[in-house]
């Protein structure tokens, strides 16, 4: 806690931040938190205190795409799935397509197909578009002006990432040959 700050003000700012993040449907950016808090509020100290308050609880404070959001603790998932409506996981093809877009963005559909060495079904693109993890990002200045695709903030939110830099770097992958070895085919 900041030394110079009035403890009552700090406590109130903590409550306001908690309420705002709790109420929001999306991760709350720092600017929105600062707007409701008192002047000179120490945002970093408040986030630290709030995170500590929820440590080990059923709900945790996480940083997503540059904002803050409460999410249920990972270990509770198996029990929660019994009662909370669960979204379907993406199939492997969609996951690979998403991985290509994440690494090569902005990228055209033809480029995706070249990297995968296979044609891409519209169904796969639709799946990714439906959950909002990709979006068009302009057009490539090439014959036919094909649409370029990129990941969205929802991509970060879907996988619980603070930003794109949390993805493994391309040169980090493949360093371990064992990692490349596929599990035995069934």
């Amino acid at each position: 806690m900041s030394e110079t700050q009035d403890p009552a003000l700090f406590a109130q700012d903590l409550r306001l931040a908690e309420a705002l993040i709790f109420a929001a449907a999306q991760p709350v950016p720092p600017s929105a938190l600062l707007r409701v808090m008192s002047d000179f509020a120490d945002l970093a100290a408040i986030i630290t205190a709030l995170r500590a308050q929820y440590d080990g609880r059923g709900v945790e404070l996480v940083e997503i795409g540059g904002g803050f959001q409460f999410r249920t603790a990972l270990d509770l998932a198996p029990l929660l799935r019994q009662v909370v409506e669960v979204k379907r996981r993406l199939p492997r093809v969609a996951m690979e397509t998403l991985a290509i877009i994440a690494y090569h963005q902005p990228v055209t559909r033809t480029e995706i197909e070249e990297i995968r060495g296979a044609t891409l079904s519209q169904g796969t693109m639709d799946q990714l578009l439906e959950i909002g993890v990709i979006a068009p990002a302009g057009r490539k200045e090439a014959p036919g002006r094909p649409t370029l695709w990129a990941t969205t903030p929802a991509f970060l939110s879907h996988f619980g990432l603070a930003d794109l830099r949390q993805l493994p770097r391309r040169d980090e992958l493949l360093l371990d040959p064992a990692a490349v070895t596929a599990p035995d085919p069934v």
Partner: protein, 253 residues
């Protein structure tokens, strides 16, 4: 070459439909070499791939064109690697083999990232966000937007529509005519001192530059007209200098 590759590809053949294109199968074969993808043997890989394709043909499995194209290309590549036609041919074939290896490494990276993403806690499956978010934003729609431009547009639209069509009337320019300038010159001749500047006979009110220039032109023509008639004399002491006006009788020789 791994000795069990033959039987391995036989079993693979049955799963051919499970692969996302030839590159996918190639990558899978490469992984079965259990080698670092950096030191991959393209020649061995080609053999295995062709064996799978051959096997698929033996049991009359329908093969899509891209599989056959890849098989043909790989057969060509292998022949170039083993039986180079020329020094240049070897280089070209090795370059192609390197490119294939690089593509396989790229695809392997993509697959790894996909795996990495798959084990991340996914929102809505492994972790859950607030199910009943509260909206703290209140929208106040009670106010209207008013702007004068909109009001005027509305007025013009209504009037024009009612009048049938918009009738454009140009703004009339009130230019000083030569006749007006003549009248003014004649009426003022007696009251101005000798050697007056012609410009003193301009009308009192010329609000725009165009009107002022028009008046100057008309007044000059009127002055020349009177001078031709012998009623006045004009003189200009220097180029672009003021034009001075005298009654004809007083004009110097």
């Amino acid at each position: 070459m791994a000795p069990e590759s033959e039987s391995g590809s036989q079993s693979l053949m049955l799963h051919l439909a499970g692969f996302e294109g030839p590159l996918d199968l190639l990558l899978d074969l490469a992984r079965q070499q259990k080698l670092d993808l950096a030191t991959i043997s393209i020649a061995d890989l080609v053999d295995q791939f062709l064996a799978v394709i051959e096997g698929a043909r033996r049991i009359r499995l329908e093969l899509a064109a891209d599989w056959l194209v890849m098989a043909a290309w790989l057969a060509w590549l292998k022949s170039r690697l083993l039986l180079p036609a020329s020094e240049e041919g070897v280089e070209e074939a090795e370059h192609q083999a390197d490119r294939l290896a690089a593509r396989l490494r790229d695809l392997a990276r993509v697959r790894e990232l996909a795996e990495w993403l798959t084990v991340q806690p996914v929102l809505g499956h492994d972790v859950f966000e607030r199910g009943a978010p509260e909206s703290l934003i209140e929208t106040d729609r009670s106010q209207y937007a008013f702007d004068v431009a909109g009001l005027l547009r509305a007025y013009l639209a209504a009037r024009r529509r009612a009048m049938g069509s918009a009738i454009y009337t140009p703004v009339p320019h009130t230019l000083w005519t030569v006749q007006q300038a003549l009248d003014r010159l004649r009426s003022l001749l007696g009251s101005l001192p000798r050697g007056s500047d012609l410009m003193a006979f301009l009308p009192d009110h010329t609000p725009t530059p165009v009107e002022r220039r028009g008046a100057m032109a008309s007044t000059l023509i009127a002055g020349l007209e009177l001078a031709r008639n012998g009623q006045i004399a004009l003189r200009q002491d220097s180029a672009f200098g003021p034009i001075l006006l005298d009654l004809a009788s007083e004009a110097p020789k």
